[in-house]
């Protein structure tokens, strides 16, 4: 019975994501994190013009009423610049760069779900994970609706993607 209820709830949120157009909510969540934590104004850019290479991918899982994954993807140099902006100094290691990108993804995910009425109480976040390197394929069980926004940070593209499970 409870499984049916959970599935119904997830389904209703997946439907909401289509009906309510959550892309502006995701974009606002991204803009706020960059403005507050990196002291940097970012705006979405046309997706066809800029595609980041996926050398660094941070991800945070969503479970519960909203089920899926949020990823933040950029190249190595941009990830390093992002870490420097957060820390106010050069990152001391690749691990620190990955940590910074993971935290950005974590804050975007939290900020996004906190903006969706009725979602934040029933949705949990995983701790962030970060993949670095080129030779990997990304498969997710959350093969439902997806939203993507690309922003320019110090003239380099960063892709933020929300993939929801149907």
């Amino acid at each position: 019975m409870s499984t049916d209820t959970s599935a119904a709830t997830r389904s209703s949120f997946a439907t909401r994501s289509k009906q309510e157009n959550w892309l502006p909510v995701l974009e606002l969540a991204v803009e706020e994190v960059f403005a507050i934590m990196l002291n940097c104004k970012v705006k979405p850019t046309a997706q066809s013009e800029h595609k980041p290479n996926g050398e660094f991918t941070a991800m945070v899982g969503l479970a519960g009423a909203l089920c899926g994954i949020i990823t933040v993807c950029c190249d190595r140099k941009t990830a390093g610049q992002l870490a420097r902006s957060m820390l106010g100094e050069e990152a001391k290691s690749g691990e620190e760069v990955a940590d910074a990108l993971g935290e950005v993804c974590n804050m975007i995910a939290g900020n996004f779900k906190n903006k969706l009425a009725g979602t934040d109480e029933r949705c949990m976040l995983s701790v962030p994970s970060v993949i670095s390197g080129w030779e990997y394929s990304f498969h997710t069980m959350a093969e439902g609706n997806s939203l993507e926004t690309i922003l320019l940070f110090e003239d380099a593209p960063i892709a933020v993607r929300l993939q929801l499970q149907n």
């Binding site: 994190v33 934590m37 870490a83 957060m86 620190e96 804050m107 939290g110 900020n111 906190n114 109480e121």
Partner: protein, 128 residues
């Protein structure tokens, strides 16, 4: 204001640095900062260090922040140390759980130094 000794608990070392920097930017003078990457580690740190303030994340591996707050309440030597949560979890239920467990303040990430000041100074008995 007297200098304070702070324990910062977060699984991200970058975030621990940012929290420390935000405390300094908020005008809070720090005598000492000790760190832990999860609740269990923080309990060990508390056995070996005297602190005046704890800033703690919620979502962490091994022992999360809510369980840590509950555990601190059972440690005689740590009772009364003000705990302020700093977390991406912004729901009312998380706030209620944290405050019920004994946390004295709650800051949502992303946060500004002013928000740190606003939430931390009162728990240290200082005016904002």
């Amino acid at each position: 204001m007297d200098k304070i000794r702070a324990l910062i608990v977060d699984d991200s070392s970058v975030m621990r640095k940012i929290v420390e920097r935000s405390l300094r930017q908020a005008g809070i003078e720090l005598e000492k900062v000790v760190e832990a990457s999860n609740g269990a580690e923080a309990l060990v740190v508390l056995q070996n260090n005297v602190v005046d303030l704890i800033l703690c994340d919620i979502n962490m591996p091994v022992m999360d922040g809510l369980e840590f707050v509950r555990q601190v309440a059972t440690v005689e030597s740590a009772k009364g140390i003000p705990i302020v949560m700093i977390t991406t979890e912004g729901s009312e239920s998380h706030v209620v759980q944290a405050l019920s467990a004994g946390a004295r303040g709650y800051i949502r990430k992303p946060f500004t130094p002013d928000q740190v000041k606003e939430h931390v100074l009162p728990v240290l008995g200082k005016k904002v």
